[in-house]
């Protein structure tokens, strides 16, 4: 047994680390490290820098212009970038629609969309959920009717993350209402700028705009934007779920947040001593750190055994990863005591004009705690993940 990275992997890690140190813009890193609001431009700038280096889609196979990184290399890349305060890569194009196009897309789709995604040309969003179809995704009702060489789309998607920035949306749509519900679903790529597409914000409990409703009214979509075969959308969507990388565990980002938590706990005081030395608080921090160490090792075990397409074990990573993320936001909020309460959306911007209330790091923490309630809900809620493990792993 050898739990260390190989010499080649260590060299790769050093290369990534050096690149990030040299090229990650300081203002963007500060926003991430200080939990400030990220604007569209922040994501775009960083992704452009990676695209230029050829690393935006480094985990893609070489035949599609990637670097063909191994699962371990991808993990190292995620870790190093997250630790330095890089924003997460917007996954919808890179990690969601791209693998589906690679596996099932037409030659035209591969040659048109994949290079654009790799070069950070289009911002994609994910159009799965609907008001009536959340966990029960297969009951979705957005209709696409074939008329000549177009589909005409009518219906509504919801919870669409950052759709306000998007150029393209990949949708699950109903193309046949006469068959079993899973069999009447197709996978369609829709131009967000097409006539008939409307985006309306949903304000979240922290006052931010991160999700949207997307409406389709007689939107004409060229038939060449159908991925694979009509009626096979559900199969492709499931393929995608199984293909989700181990990145969903978010280990790198959680390690970074743990370090931030410790720094805050050293600077806060309880009974005249650093909070980090308070036995109760130290024990709570230790518990999360131990879970995180275990999760990292679990991720590595999955990577070592299964390569890049984990099976139902991915549900373990999603459940534990998100629980740890939430525990970290909670401890950070608790750490600042009464200064968790002030709510000043203007303080979510970097270098806000007015002086902070309380310690500078305190301002975003409660809002962030509430925002992070989402992570156990989206991407297949943790209840659904537990159902998957119960059925697929435990055979219950």
């Amino acid at each position: 047994m050898d739990l260390e990275y190989t010499a080649g992997e260590r060299a790769f890690r050093d290369e990534v680390r050096a690149f990030v140190r040299a090229r990650l813009p300081g203002d963007i890193a500060r926003k991430v490290l200080e939990h400030r609001r990220l604007e569209k431009d922040d994501y775009v700038r960083w992704q452009d820098i990676l695209a230029e280096r050829g690393w935006l889609a480094g985990h893609w196979p070489r035949e599609f212009g990637g670097c063909g990184w191994t699962a371990v290399e991808s993990h190292i890349f995620d870790e190093e970038t997250a630790a330095a305060g890089a924003p997460r890569l917007i996954p919808f194009g890179l990690n969601m629609v791209a693998p589906v196009i690679m596996a099932f897309g037409s030659a035209w789709q591969k040659s048109h969309y994949l290079p654009r995604i790799r070069a950070n040309k289009d911002w994609w969003c994910q159009g799965y959920s609907e008001p009536g179809a959340g966990s029960d995704l297969a009951s979705l009702r957005t209709r696409a009717v074939r008329e000549g060489d177009h589909y005409v789309v009518n219906g509504q998607k919801t919870w669409t993350t950052l759709a306000q920035h998007a150029d393209m949306i990949f949708c699950l749509v109903r193309t046949d209402t006469t068959v079993k519900k899973q069999e009447g679903i197709s996978f369609l790529l829709v131009d967000m700028h097409a006539p008939g597409v409307a985006v309306r914000p949903i304000v979240t409990l922290d006052g931010e705009r991160e999700v949207n409703e997307v409406f389709f009214e007689n939107v004409r979509v060229p038939a060449q934007n159908l991925v694979g075969e009509e009626g096979k959308g559900w199969t492709y969507a499931k393929y995608l779920l199984g293909h989700e990388r181990t990145g969903i565990a978010g280990v790198g980002a959680s390690k970074r947040e743990l370090a931030t938590l410790k720094a805050i706990a050293r600077s806060e005081r309880r009974n005249g001593r650093p909070l980090a030395e308070d036995p109760l608080f130290a024990a709570r921090m230790a518990q999360v750190e131990i879970e995180l160490i275990a999760l990292e090792a679990t991720v590595m075990r999955v990577l070592a055994s299964r390569g890049s397409a984990p099976g139902p074990e991915a549900s373990i990573l999603k459940i534990k990863g998100t629980e740890i993320q939430q525990a970290l936001t909670e401890l950070m909020m608790d750490a600042v005591g009464p200064y968790a309460a002030p709510f000043r959306p203007e303080a979510m911007a970097l270098d806000a004009e007015d002086a902070p209330v309380g310690p500078e790091y305190a301002a975003p923490l409660a809002a962030r705690y509430f925002n992070y309630r989402k992570v156990t809900i989206y991407g297949g809620s943790n209840e659904i993940q537990r159902n998957i493990i119960a059925q697929m792993v435990l055979g219950l």
């Binding site: 959920s129 304000v203 009974n271 009464p338 709510f343 409660a366 509430f370």
Partner: protein, 377 residues
């Protein structure tokens, strides 16, 4: 043994519940929270008219001489409607301190006006870095002639920018974390040298940073004994913490009801999601948390007025520690069971969840009270 409320208490509970249902629909609360002052003078006047603002103030000074159990009844009802008006800050903490520590003249000057809703008070005690330690006071008051001059900073003072009179703690002797040497002063918010920076809190209330720079007060501003205010502060804070527990129970009642309602109406996989056992068990845990919390909130209210300081403190800390944790868990579960809807601003449940969570950050969090409980044996 009798856990029933008196006839007057039942009457108060029912009329407040009706009032909240009629006068405090959620959309109105939204507008109030967004308003410049952050609370409604009209609602405030109505609460005064109902006798709420003088509920526990002495009968001799415009109040009704009620107990902490009366406060529980009031806070639970207000919590149920997520009422933001500064009842806790003004009636319980601010006026409560004056009632407990004031001379007859001080009481007569402030309490009848407070009971009528014409005067807003608050307790300006917490400081940056003090966390929940009540003895940590760095603000200073030094003698000047017959009066005092105050200097210092007060942190996250509830409704500090709206209050007319601040009950300010300051050191007249001793070092920063010493029990002895703390005194209380009545300070007009409009007084020279007082600057207040108000802001919203994440649960829709208001608070402020208060700076005192050479604030001159006369001898009549000293509230209670010189150097020996800490026991008074501890008592008032215990009463306030018990009141917060009651509020939390009210918030939880509504939040649990909203969540149950959602479980019964939201359909996925061709059935109400409440049919899934995983969610049923979560809802059952929310229910058990509520009942355990209700019990502790009652104990805390009954003992909050107790003369035995240890019994009082232990019970209040037990309740506040429990409510801190159970409130956190109930809020988390409520959001989770609402799915995506749970993280929207549109859904009242998210606002209830936020208030329920943030109650833990007022007057001592779960860790603080668990440690205090343990230390008291």
């Amino acid at each position: 043994m009798d856990f029933s409320f008196s006839e007057e208490q039942q009457l108060l509970r029912d009329s407040l519940a009706r009032f909240v249902a009629r006068e405090y629909p959620f959309e109105k609360r939204r507008a109030i929270v967004r308003s410049a002052e952050g609370f409604s003078r009209e609602i405030w006047a109505q609460l005064a008219e109902m006798g709420l603002l003088g509920l526990t103030l002495p009968a001799a000074h415009g109040g009704f001489g009620g107990t902490a159990v009366d406060t529980l009844v009031a806070m639970q009802a207000l919590g149920g409607g997520l009422v933001v008006e500064p009842y806790l800050a003004s009636a319980v903490l601010g006026a409560g301190t004056v009632a407990r520590a004031g001379t007859p003249a001080q009481r007569e000057r402030l309490l009848p006006a407070a009971a009528r809703g014409e005067l807003l008070l608050t307790l300006a005690h917490g400081e940056a870095g003090a966390r929940y330690d009540l003895a940590q006071v760095a603000a200073r008051a030094r003698r000047a002639g017959t009066g005092f001059v105050l200097d210092g900073r007060k942190a996250v003072v509830p409704w500090g920018a709206q209050a007319d009179v601040l009950v300010v703690s300051a050191r007249t002797a001793g070092a920063e974390r010493e029990a002895a040497g703390i005194s209380l002063f009545l300070v007009e918010r409009a007084a020279k040298g007082v600057s207040v920076r108000g802001y919203r809190t994440i649960d829709g209330q208001r608070a402020a940073e208060v700076a005192l720079d050479g604030v001159t007060v006369d001898a009549g501003a000293l509230l209670g004994p010189l150097d020996e205010a800490l026991p008074i502060i501890e008592r008032v804070v215990d009463v306030g913490a018990a009141a917060l527990c009651a509020e939390a129970v009210g918030v939880m009642e509504t939040l649990n009801a909203q969540t149950l309602d959602y479980l019964k109406t939201r359909q996925q996989f061709g059935q109400p999601i409440g049919r899934f056992q995983a969610l049923q068990h979560r809802a059952v845990d929310m229910f058990i948390h509520l009942e355990q919390s209700r019990s502790l909130a009652l104990l805390a209210a009954v003992r909050a007025d107790a003369e035995d300081a240890v019994e009082r403190a232990r019970t209040v800390s037990a309740a506040k520690a429990h409510l801190g944790r159970s409130g956190r868990l109930v809020a988390q579960a409520a959001i989770q069971l609402h799915g995506g809807m749970g993280v929207t601003d549109e859904m009242p449940a998210s606002h209830y969840a936020k208030r329920l969570t943030m109650i833990d950050f007022q007057l001592g969090d779960a860790d603080h009270h668990a440690a205090r409980f343990a230390a008291l044996g």
